[in-house]
């Protein structure tokens, strides 16, 4: 999990595969909301 991301930021943001990054706004529309225990609100 850490090879392409610093440990500190793991699980704090929605990570999309490169082929979906351009369509992020549309992908996010279809995802339900939830909040993690670090206080991060998803989808973000």
């Amino acid at each position: 999990m850490t090879y392409n991301e610093p440990i500190e930021t793991l699980g704090t943001h929605l990570v999309l595969p490169p082929w979906l990054e351009e369509d992020r706004a549309n992908v996010i529309k279809n995802l339900p909301s939830f909040e993690s225990f670090t206080g991060a609100k998803f989808p973000n």
Binding site: Y3, G11, L16, P17, V27, F34, F37, F42
Partner: protein
């Protein structure tokens, strides 16, 4: 090539509401949410990864939260439960923590190790097994000290449609050793320090049905891409039909259904 599978890489399961999932696995079990992404085959569904604070292979339980999914049926052709490894004598702490959270549990001993058994809100059969001799300070996270924290997987329990064939693949191809048997359960072990047990139960009688509360697949570890390719060849030779290599962004994967109906994945460890 490694001549024996080095334990479980991750377990992936079908769950319901993502908030309830986070509340249980982070809030009650103290696992770190280490990756929030989407199901690459269905981008309208999250893929949530929990593990130790570093997200190490062998510690990762992942979920596809799918609130509309019907409840599944636990049975043959599935991993019917998963167990996490906790330090020796940590059960007392978890009895209090589960009780405070209102999670009913039972205690028992299997293969000489004390364990707690309970379910989450989706019906997953979960165990905490006292199998860690020396706590690793790096697994401390949030409000769970290392002396009692979940260190990763202890193992999984499988219910096979063809237990003899499942056993043969585990021992003759994957390099697991049959080390014990009790109460219709066979215990297999790999040489890995963590996530190193597979149990094969013969007590299940009904065929499992996929849905919420069901393990989707069990992923085993390959060291790197070369090791991965060698394992794919070995499984082909054993009569399996693995997929081609799939890029999962954080690791590379192949999948196949073993002879007892259980979906296996072989996934590479992260490369530096």
């Amino acid at each position: 090539m490694t001549d024996r599978i080095q334990g479980i890489h991750h377990v992936t399961a079908m769950s319901s509401d993502p908030q309830r999932n986070v509340n249980f696995y982070s809030g009650i079990l103290g696992l770190r949410l280490v990756k929030v992404t989407i199901n690459y085959d269905d981008p309208s569904t999250y893929h949530l990864y929990y593990g130790d604070p570093q997200g190490s292979p062998g510690t990762l339980i992942t979920f596809f939260p799918w609130p509309q999914s019907p409840q599944g049926t636990i049975g043959l052709g599935q991993a019917t439960s998963f167990s996490f490894a906790i330090p020796k004598n940590a059960s007392a702490y978890w009895i209090t923590r589960l009780s405070d959270a209102g999670v009913p549990f039972t205690t028992e001993e299997r293969f000489g190790l004390p364990l707690l058994r309970f379910q989450d809100h989706d019906g997953f059969q979960i165990e905490l097994v006292e199998s860690i001799e020396t706590p690793n300070p790096q697994v401390a996270w949030d409000n769970t000290p290392a002396e009692v924290a979940i260190h990763g997987f202890h193992g999984v329990q499988l219910a096979s449609v063809r237990p003899d064939s499942t056993e043969r693949l585990l021992t003759e191809t994957m390099g697991y050793f049959l080390v014990a048997e009790e109460n219709q359960i066979k215990l297999f072990r790999s040489p890995a320090p963590l996530a190193n047990t597979v149990e094969l139960t013969q007590s299940q009688v009904q065929i499992g049905r996929m849905g919420t509360g069901i393990v989707h697949h069990v992923a085993f570890r390959a060291e790197d891409d070369a090791d991965h390719a060698a394992w794919r060849e070995k499984f082909v030779t054993a009569g399996m039909r693995p997929t081609e290599f799939i890029d999962r962004n954080y690791f590379h994967s192949i999948y196949f259904r073993e002879p007892g109906g259980i979906l296996y994945e072989i996934a590479t460890d992260p490369q530096a």
